[in-house]
């Protein structure tokens, strides 16, 4: 899996490309831990180019969400392909993740949170 990082103000955006499974989920978790070392705990994951996700990949996302919550940060997701969205719904994980249709909407929600 390819991970491209960029900062949008206080939010770190990670664009994921490829498969999100046991091995790559572990790589993603390591990447997120590096962000914590820089005290960046506002994280957005763009999943538009995730071509495959299984329960191990979902488990990695849950782990990341819990780590971010422990640090009083925020995790958002966007651009889920229809089958990825369906897997989130089947597993009911759609109830615990902040999922936006687009990255722009997700990033706007961070700005709105600051204004409020």
């Amino acid at each position: 899996m390819e991970i491209v990082l960029r900062d949008e103000g206080s939010v770190t955006v990670l664009t994921l490309r490829g498969r999100l499974d046991l091995a790559t989920g572990s790589t993603l978790k390591q990447q997120i831990k590096k962000l914590f070392e820089k005290e960046r705990t506002a994280v957005h994951l763009n999943l538009a180019d995730v071509e495959f996700i299984n329960s191990s990949g979902l488990g990695a996302l849950v782990s990341i969400m819990k780590e971010i919550r422990l640090r009083k940060g925020r995790l958002t997701l966007s651009d889920l392909a229809s089958y990825v969205k369906e897997i989130f719904e089947i597993t009911q994980l759609s109830h615990i993740f902040e999922i936006f249709a687009t990255e722009d909407e997700a990033l706007a929600s961070y700005q709105a949170a600051v204004l409020n």
Binding site: R19, D21, A23, S55, L58, G59, Y83, E86, T91, I96
Partner: protein, 139 residues
């Protein structure tokens, strides 16, 4: 019917290798994207279960994957060299929303046309899955 058999070490690199092999087989047979996607997900769940829970990531233990393709359906048999896997499957508890694991079997059962768990003579877990091509479930 065409049958393919693969053997993998129980190591992290094997998962990606298996997915590459499986994807190539499905592409070569021009399996429709919907059914292929479901099949890859189901096999990956069984494979990861075999590697992590069955063989406990012991690289000396192997996972045998047999794939059969015909006009009617896709089948896969995933066999590990662990012990007590069938008991673990039978006694599994539903995951909570914040659980990091425990969703694989439910996803397999949701997307497969048929799934069966049996024990090998050596105590390993044998998972048989089937995806029908004529009556596709929605992935």
């Amino acid at each position: 019917m065409t049958t393919y058999t693969f053997h993998y070490q129980s190591s992290a690199a094997s998962e990606e290798m298996m997915l590459d092999h499986l994807t190539t087989v499905l592409e070569n047979h021009r399996i429709p994207e919907e059914a292929a996607g479901r099949f890859v997900l189901i096999v990956s769940e069984a494979f990861t279960n075999a590697m992590v829970h069955g063989n406990r990531s012991d690289s000396h233990k192997t996972i045998k994957l047999t794939i059969c393709v015909n006009d009617e359906h896709l089948t896969a048999d995933i066999i590990d060299e662990g012990h007590g896997g069938l008991e673990q499957i039978r006694n599994r508890r539903p995951p909570t929303l914040l659980s990091e694991g425990g969703r694989g079997v439910d996803l397999m059962e949701h997307y497969a046309s048929g799934v069966a768990f049996t024990e090998t003579a050596d105590g390993g877990l044998h998972v048989s899955v089937r995806v029908d091509l004529k009556t596709e479930k929605t992935r």
